[in-house]
């Protein structure tokens, strides 16, 4: 009986000690036992979703190592496919960093869902298909780090003049019938466009300089109003305006290396029967000129149409301008990067 009692007390003591080690007392004094944290669904950064497959052969029977190998192949395919589709210019860079990325692949891949598993016992193959989110900014940072270290990439100043144009009578006309030449556009620069474009170029590691900051330094040889005046009457900048702008930017103590110019032409609005919103189309055209090389064109985009929607015309127009500006800047930046320009 005494032995039973001792065993019972020992059991109680061990139980209390075991629970005690696992408990912790936070500042407010409540004793909290650790539990598995609830993973908040969806509160993550910029995540790209993709699906990929991995397949392995096995000899006698399928074991855990082979399953893991197939899973790793699938994860590797996810990343390779994303780079190939979205960042083909960086594919060579990816291959130099592939080993490093694969060894830390779970840092780049989030929220894996196993969509399918197929085991062919006759052919002795095992295939797993997964859908996962990829942490795109983190992956991108790896490539930017790579490309910075690789050879001759210069850090450059860039300024841009992109104007929004609206036909006071609304609607496009065919360029060939000559009517467009008679249009006097209502031209403006807009904050939405400047911010949207500026962010893209900054994210691509350009030193973006606002045109208003350089105008005076160039003695107004480079002047936004002159560009606006030229764009009011047609699609081209006059040779005088362009030559003066290039000279002004080149002669600065720290020359601005690249000048991006272009137009965003706003079409008339329509009522979208599907959503009931007002829909506006914007056609964007642009190019990047190398100031130090006599204005040689280094990148070009458009004309391409983008749409914006909103409950009012103003909202729809701004959304369309923002979409067009962002898309155009991305294309231009990608072309510059492809030429190792930064």
């Amino acid at each position: 009986m005494k032995i039973l009692k001792i065993k019972w007390y020992s059991f109680c003591a061990i139980l209390l000690l075991a629970l005690g080690f696992q408990a912790r007392v936070p500042v407010n004094g409540t004793i909290v036992l650790p539990t598995a944290g609830l993973q908040a669904a969806g509160n993550q950064g910029n995540i790209v979703e993709a699906t990929a497959m991995g397949q392995v052969n096995y000899s006698w029977s399928l074991d855990n190592d082979e399953r893991q190998a197939a899973m790793l192949m699938a994860k590797k395919s996810l990343v390779r496919n994303l780079i190939a589709q979205k960042y083909p210019n960086y594919f060579n860079n990816y291959e130099t960093k592939e080993e490093q990325i694969i060894s830390n692949i779970d840092d780049y891949i989030l929220s894996i869902v196993v969509v399918d598993e197929q085991q062919d016992k006759e052919a002795k193959t095992y295939q797993v298909t997964i859908r996962a989110g990829i942490n795109e900014p983190k992956l991108l940072a790896t490539f930017l780090e790579t490309s910075e270290k690789q050879g001759q990439i210069e850090e450059s100043y860039l300024t841009f003049v992109f104007v929004a144009r609206e036909n006071p009578k609304h609607g496009f006309t065919d360029k060939n019938d000559g009517l467009k030449q008679d249009i006097k556009w209502r031209v403006s620069t807009t904050n939405e466009v400047d911010i949207a474009m500026g962010n893209i170029f900054v994210n691509n590691s350009f030193n973006v300089v606002s045109p208003s900051l350089v105008e005076q330094d160039t003695g107004y040889q480079f002047e936004v109003d002159k560009f606006k005046l030229d764009y009011e009457n047609g699609d081209d900048i006059s040779s005088v305006t362009l030559r003066n702008a290039l000279k002004g930017l080149k002669d600065l103590e720290e020359p601005v290396h690249y000048l991006a110019i272009g137009t965003l032409d706003i079409d008339q609005s329509i009522n979208d029967p599907v959503t009931g919103n007002i829909k506006v189309a914007v056609s964007v055209t642009g190019q990047v000129l190398d100031v130090l090389r006599r204005g040689a064109r280094k990148a070009a985009v458009g004309p391409v149409q983008y749409f914006g929607e909103g409950p009012t015309y103003g909202v729809a127009k701004n959304n369309a301008l923002k979409s067009a500006a962002q898309a155009a800047a991305k294309v231009l930046a990608a072309q510059l990067r492809a030429n190792n320009i930064k």
Partner: protein
């Protein structure tokens, strides 16, 4: 004495443990209100009663206000419903809305009116307007005819939306049963629903091919949703590419981006047959199902399935809607198929499937569907 002390200590420790279980921060789900799925210019035509009910009160739509009040009176285990404006500091705020996708007045075999409503609890990402998950909620409420044989549709649909057996109550039950982890599961979508040509000729005049395919697609989605599958809605005609038109009752309209499905379901309604006996009728349907894993383009299940229902004949009742029994047969087939995809039963497939390998295919598929 010492044993008593020991027991008391254990009891005290267990009590403290239970009381002090960590209150984890629940995920916030922001309530966007009530709305309508589909084209804006079809809303008034497709959902006349929902629009009428919503417009009865301003500035907050009736269904939005009523559903919000219901939600506020209840607690949810897995998340917290937030009625304030979205917190802009959150990277991907999750929104939820109750969206009507179908309204229909049907008649039973006994010629009594039935208000049918189909809706979805739509969860979407606020920043990207991407659909995260959708829970289908179909309801049917029986009514009675007036003495003069007419139907007070307004009163019937008011019941169907607002009563304790109505849509809002069902939506609340569905919301309570929702676990956000389900949104991470494999995605299914009915992507193609067709009617065989020979069957088109048998359809009643008031039933169009478009209406029937929409009904079948939505029903299949609802039955799968009830089995806790992660289902992307079927929306023929309202989706362009992978976008679904959506409009909130407060008039904000946008296109919801639909995620890619992992498994696509094709359904072909092949035939509807009946057999009349003195005291009962047998109504049967033949439907071909094909379930394909999208990325590998592999068909994982393919078979024609058949289902029949028996309906007792009632004397002196002229059944206006002779299509109702076929609908019952289809509904039962879809419900049981959804169950079979969770837990396949050999006997069921032996009875209902034309293909001898249907059970084997279903068994392999159910493992992948989790």
């Amino acid at each position: 004495m010492k044993m008593q002390l020991c027991l008391k200590l254990i009891g005290f420790y267990i009590a403290v443990f239970l009381i002090s279980l960590p209150v984890q921060a629940k995920q916030q789900v922001y309530f966007a209100g009530s709305g309508y799925l589909g084209r804006y210019d079809d809303i008034g035509k497709n959902y006349p009663h929902a629009v009428r009910i919503n417009n009865a009160q301003k500035p907050v739509a009736t269904l939005t206000k009523a559903f919000a009040e219901l939600i506020q009176r209840n607690e949810f285990k897995n998340f917290e419903v937030n009625f304030k404006s979205v917190d802009q500091n959150l990277t991907r705020p999750l929104m939820m809305a109750l969206s009507i996708e179908r309204e229909n007045l049907a008649f039973s075999t006994l010629n009594t009116p039935i208000a049918e409503i189909s809706a979805q609890l739509v969860f979407f990402d606020y920043n990207t307007r991407t659909l995260v998950a959708a829970k289908q909620i179909p309801i049917a409420v029986n009514g009675v005819k007036n003495n003069d044989g007419t139907v007070d549709q307004d009163a019937l649909f008011d019941l169907a939306y607002l009563s304790e057996e109505g849509l809002l109550s069902e939506a609340l039950k569905s919301l309570k049963a929702t676990k956000l982890k389900e949104f991470q599961k494999v995605r299914l979508q009915a992507t193609k629903v067709t009617i065989a040509k020979k069957l088109l000729q048998k359809l009643p005049k008031e039933l169009t091919e478009r209406g029937l395919t929409q009904f079948l697609g939505q029903r299949l989605s609802a039955k799968l949703s009830q089995q806790r599958f992660n289902v992307i809605p079927y929306q023929r005609g309202a989706t362009i590419g992978r976008q679904m038109a959506f409009r909130l009752a407060d008039s904000s309209g946008f296109n919801l981006q639909l995620p890619e499905a992992d498994y696509e379901i094709h359904m072909t309604f092949l035939d509807a047959l009946s057999m009349q006996q003195p005291t009962f009728s047998l109504h049967g349907v033949d439907v071909e199902f094909s379930i394909k894993q999208k990325s590998s383009n592999t068909v994982r299940f393919q078979s024609v399935l058949t289902y029949a229902v028996s309906t007792k004949k009632v004397a002196n009742v002229d059944a206006k809607d002779s299509w109702a029994p076929y609908e019952d047969a289809i509904e039962n087939l879809l419900a049981e198929l959804a169950q079979q995809l969770v837990n396949p039963n050999k006997a069921w497939f032996k009875e209902h499937a034309f293909s001898q390998s249907a059970f084997k295919q279903a068994k392999a598929l159910s493992k992948s569907l989790g």
